[in-house]
Symmetry: none
Subunit: 190 residues, 4 copies
DNA sequence: TATGAATGAGTGTTCATTCAT
DNA sequence: CATGAATGAACACTCATTCAT
């Protein structure tokens, strides 16, 4: 099947899926997703072969979006810590502003519906960002590790920080700074 | 009393649930769990009021077990870094040895079947360990943070490290050390 | 609209439910009802939200049908006893011809699955008939009673008569006449 | 199995069954009945072979009880209408005082769990009372009918009256009198 | 292509009855 | 005999997917 008629509908379905998954987990019925998207139950299946296909696509989209937002406005001119901080702040801000996307992503990540290939694409997004910052250089004692591992640490600390912010929104700024300090300690430590 | 409730069966059901959830996620059918445990479908419900009740109990058990294993053999005499390393190593070892428990825990954590009270108990387990190490002292520049946050960092880095080990088991020792270095950098950083 | 909801299927399900309930009581499985109606198990639930909803609708339908049959062919020109006899005969004939509808109605009536609103609609049907006959006039010494009570007596004697006919079908005519005599005695008595 | 040990327990189970059936219909779980009776789930089955056996026995007991109460204090000396009225009043009073027994009876009556033999015994109880009053004499134009039919009318009108009293308890006396007038009209009518 | 009715396998839970203690 | 844990068939209802319109 070639590109389906309405890109608009496709997008609406993906957005509806994100919302439904954030709310109800991967058990969210396709019927509810379709309703949220304002299309008929059957229509969903002309845009996506199956529920799994839809979720895999959603996973990739959300991962890419997070990645894009992270480097948006990234300025290479600054010094290293500033560049890291910049990316960190973007990530946290994106997470705060898109809490439900993040929640959906978490659900998808945990589920067994996301295949290897989607995961690979998702992982790439994170690594690309890290590589950008890493610049092939050794950073402190972790130098021997791949940018992979750095990306993992970044995301782990970022998500943890966002979880804390979810629970204590009023401490947002403090938590964001504390999270970054932790990250920077990791990176700059000997 | 007639045949008393068998602690053995209760344990078998819990173990079966862990296995099933690790394999199939929280959608694992109670029928399969019962079969794995070697009991009749109905028996599961004499030991646990509902699937949710079973999963909440499983969540608590796994969290507590992880906590217990972490401080098992903890020796307070050593110096601070050694004590942290000791706990870190225990956590990683537990995670490696109980990969499926950890996977189950992840599924449970993400699902909406775990109620507040179970989450509270679970969170306590992690904090207790952190508090033990934290000893009320300020640690580096993060000193202003609660032991809460430190526990969060510990778990985040630990889980991330375990995820890497899952994918590259042959680099286990190296990853374990790198993970600890990251953790220690956070803790000791100025 | 795609395939529209088929009135035919809806009717088939209702009829199947009547038959199943007459046979097996309100415990009749929805699966059996669906099979009797010649539709898939799930289809039943696209026509009725739940088993209870189905049963409430069935109750109303049967009540209304009984009411309609009762006044069918009613001729207001005749004298009072003739009019009553006419309605009585219709009720008995309907009951004899629709023994299973009547049985189903009995089961439904006794069950706790019929909500207030359905009962109200059902009661209205009976009262409307009685009011028609009652014509606001005082009838014998019972005059002080509401048409309500007269309707109750009518139905009580009618159902009892039908129960006797069920057990001794060969005495049908005699029982029908005896039942009416009882009713007329009540109505005309001083 | 000979008579079981404790007549007391047997009675408790029957009473519990009446209560449970009045509340929940014939679907009342044996476990709940046992609990209400203060015995273990299994014990119920040493006193009654099955749920059906219990319900059949309960049906007979309740029918007999109603019959006994009806003729309690019956004085043959009075004149005919007084004797009928006396029995009528007893029935209504019993019904009012034992609303839940009556409700249970209704549930049992409608269910398919009551076998022919129990129904026969039950029917006997009602007929015995009627026969007592009927005294072999012809009563009005209904004379050709069996005492059977008279008993049927009595019970039909009595139950209907009780149903009205259930819904409008404050009109109890008036309804009781109206019901009797209806009954007496039937009996004495030419 | 869009729609939503139709399908039937799959699910959590209940419950009468059995039987080990 | 009394107990209540164990059993597994049965049930109402859900849902991804298909397909007639």
């Amino acid at each position: 099947m070639a590109r389906p008629l309405s890109e608009e509908k496709r997008t609406a379905i993906l957005a509806a899926a994100a919302e439904a998954v954030a709310d109800l987990g991967v058990g969210a019925p396709t019927a509810k997703i379709a309703a949220l998207a304002g299309v008929a139950e059957g229509t969903l299946f002309t845009y996506f072969e199956s529920k799994d296909a839809l979720f895999n696509q959603l996973y990739i989209d959300l991962k890419l979006e997070a990645g894009v937002r992270m480097i948006a406005g990234y300025r290479s001119g600054r010094d290293l810590p500033d560049r890291w901080r910049q990316v960190w702040d973007q990530y946290i801000e994106w997470g705060v502003a898109n809490a439900s996307s993040r929640k959906a992503l978490g659900q998808l990540e945990a589920s067994d519906r996301i295949g290897e290939s989607a995961r690979y694409v998702g992982a790439q997004a994170a690594q690309d960002v890290a590589a950008e910052l890493y610049e092939g250089r050794n950073i402190g004692l972790l130098g021997e590790q791949s940018s992979n591992f750095i990306a993992g640490i970044f995301v782990a600390l970022g998500d943890m920080t966002l979880d804390f912010i979810d629970r204590e929104p009023e401490r947002r700024e403090r938590l964001k700074r504390a999270g970054f300090k932790a990250l920077w300690n990791v990176i700059s430590g000997r």
